[in-house]
Symmetry: D2
Subunit: 156 residues, 4 copies
């Protein structure tokens, strides 16, 4: 089954970013793909909620060792105990990576995804590093929120 | 959902060990638990086959980066690219660990599981390190094949 | 002892970038610090050569398992077998991180360094992501080549 | 330069085990090798003290992110933030591994060393898993304390 990673910050979201993340999670589920993420709050939680509402499957790859740190929409919890090194796992096990907003954590995931040769789609209008990372490195694709999952699937 | 790891060698199995591993996979699925493993052949593949026959969900945490290395009964593939360090992840994300036969790789997983404070059940009569590791370290539980999953659940 | 990481791409360098990297390695050694890096060629090799010429100590943290992959100016070789996840180790064990030129690998190291709360100095005029990453995330310091090590030490 | 790992528990040692670990550290330094270890107390600290008394170089590969967790005889501190997964790094970067006493942590390091194809020497009379692990897996060498480093070098 195809696995799509959603990366983005775990802090509180504006209403519009929350909606974007939820919609992307929903689209991933509707396309019959598994949603992979870092398992925490913010963008990850919103995307997982969207995926579960659409009957999808969600995987959370946590930095720590406590399963309780996963958001409540995660089906499969992978505790790693590896801290930020888990960012490499989140993107390596995805067929494509979609970034929504985000800060330095998300930046590391986008960079590691490119290292791993994975297609990366940043969502227009979601703010954060997703708006500007394509000014720093090549090979990143931009898409509107409602077209992000389709764009990611086309790139696989 | 409860996650149970099955660890054991990925080499060709005797018919009796294959049957043991399949049965344990089936029991994990029947108990409504997710089967987690290293995603490869041998004991892992047999256990996953058993779990899928019983309608369960399987997760394979691979040492490499190629999803195609997973056995054909894996639902969720976590490629890590971390080699043997992935053994720590396999056991850290499980609520309990069941060892079937096995050699040095399995020995490292049993030891890492104990490091992580996880309940470990070794299956009697399965051969390999599962027969003797409890002579070297304390805190390991023995169970007959048909009682291994129940023993693991009782220990969680 | 203080440990300073030098990050940058492992591809062939222009003469000017090579000189910059060598100079930074030399300055790290002159300040009595250990130079930590990813152990490969390019910026890493040039910086290590500079450090060894000045009598310093160098550590190479390799993605793979083969010690022979280290450049010939590495004193201590840490093979990790963890692929890109080793990028997190390179920066986590440094008191400060200096980026010279670089592409996506370097971008991931800069982002991971910020995740780990490490001071990051990018070298002006070295090209690559070091010229532009501070347009994407906050908290990055710029310095001329000859002032980079002093800037890093001031930030620790 | 050759790198020899010393593995063993980080708890308080009996006087005789402390002496054994110190002697092995001293012998590693006298042979011109770098001592690699997990960076903590107990056997690791005693071995590092021995190595430093003989003018050697010591590397500590820590599970956590705090350099201050290293024992006071460590020259190069590699913080990993990867918990027990760091055990794989400790042994993968060594040309040979010497085990002194130890419990489950040491058992995982011995098993991971064998996974990585490294020569493993367990020290006779040091207690713990070093006395019995060779009953569980093949390919482990036994040596008296004063002959352990020579045995390890002969096996490289």
């Amino acid at each position: 089954m195809r696995q799509i990673a959603v990366v983005g910050s775990d802090s509180e979201l504006s209403g519009s970013v929350e909606k974007i993340a939820e919609g992307i999670g929903r689209d991933i589920a509707k396309e019959g793909c598994v949603l992979v993420c870092g398992g925490r709050g913010g963008v990850m939680e919103a995307a997982c909620r969207g995926a579960k509402e659409a009957g999808g499957t969600t995987v959370g790859i946590l930095p720590g060792l406590d399963k309780e740190d996963a958001n409540s929409y995660i089906d499969i919890v992978i505790t790693t105990g590896m801290g930020y090194a888990r960012n490499s796992i989140v993107v390596s096990c995805a067929d494509a990576v979609i970034a929504v907003s985000g800060r330095v954590g998300t930046l590391s995931e986008v960079a590691l995804a490119l290292n791993h040769g994975k297609p990366v789609v940043v969502v227009e209008g979601s703010g954060g590093i997703s708006e500007s990372v394509d000014q720093v490195v090549e090979g990143i694709h931009r898409a509107k929120p409602e077209e992000a999952v389709k764009a990611a699937l086309d790139l696989i």
